[in-house]
């Protein structure tokens, strides 16, 4: 799959929304400023990734984990982000756990439903066979 340059940019609509949330009501943002912030955000991701990766490599790990990202954010001197990030991560993990449990529950419910249906159809087959036997006996008597 070829990597187009646009793919490394973040969606404009979302970036604009985030900017508007941060600024006081009624403040305008020039188109140029919006584009520049979007590019800055992509650079931020690259910088944070590279920094986090250094921590992972130092620990001889191939997988980037949450701790590496937190260390990177601190290294980049964005300590103000650390507490909000910790809280957001808690909420995220809780949400993920809830989703996982909901999926597990759904699966269990579906299994139970399948087992019930199998029992029902077996009972119906037995009834049909009995009916046929009775018919034959009557003929023989006559």
């Amino acid at each position: 799959m070829a990597e187009r340059p646009e793919d490394l940019n973040l969606p404009n609509a979302v970036i604009t929304r985030i900017i508007k949330e941060a600024l006081p009501d009624g403040v305008n943002v020039s188109k140029e400023a919006r584009r520049a912030i979007s590019q800055a955000a992509s650079i931020f991701v690259l910088y944070a990734t590279s920094c986090a990766n250094n921590f992972a490599m130092k620990a001889k790990r191939k997988t980037l984990n949450a701790g590496d990202v937190m260390s990177a954010v601190e290294e980049m001197e964005f300590e103000r982000f650390l507490q909000p990030l910790r809280e957001a991560l808690e909420a995220y993990k809780k949400g993920q756990k809830g989703k996982k449990e909901a999926t597990e529950q759904k699966r269990k419910d579906k299994e139970k439903q399948n087992t019930d249906e199998n029992d029902k159809s077996r009972d119906e087959e037995e009834d049909e066979q009995e009916g046929e036997n009775e018919g034959e006996e009557e003929d023989v008597e006559n």
Binding site: V27, A40, L64, V73, P84
Partner: protein, 119 residues
């Protein structure tokens, strides 16, 4: 912060949507970085969230610091100034260069050429 406060904040955050930026796109950017092989899901979430916080911080700092308060607009030059003046935004100076008038640039080119000729 007390345990109870933390619990409440987590409740609030869980009820509202976690992130606005698409994590799939953020992953794409992260993977383009050399030497990165695997990214844990929590790490991806944190990076996405941190980027959102960064966007807000950059926008607000640039606005507060800039001349936009009079014109009620956040302009490119506000961002470029923030990149040069704020230490934590220094890594952005390459992509947010200050703009200069073409004639000033040509003038400085001429002066550089004159220096070379004098050598």
């Amino acid at each position: 912060m007390s345990e109870k406060n933390m619990e409440e904040k987590v409740e609030q955050a869980t009820n509202s949507k976690n992130v606005s930026l698409p994590m799939s796109r953020v992953r794409l950017i992260m993977k383009s970085s050399p030497d990165v092989s695997c990214i844990n899901q929590d790490a991806l979430f944190l990076t996405t969230k941190a980027t959102e916080l960064f966007v807000k911080h950059l926008a607000l700092s640039s606005y507060k610091n800039g001349s936009g308060k009079e014109t009620n607009t956040l302009s490119y030059s506000d961002l470029a100034n923030a990149a040069e003046e704020t230490e934590t935004f220094q890594f952005l100076t390459d992509i947010l260069p200050k703009k200069i008038l073409a004639r000033d640039y040509l003038k400085s080119l001429e002066e550089m050429k004159k220096d070379d000729d004098n050598l």
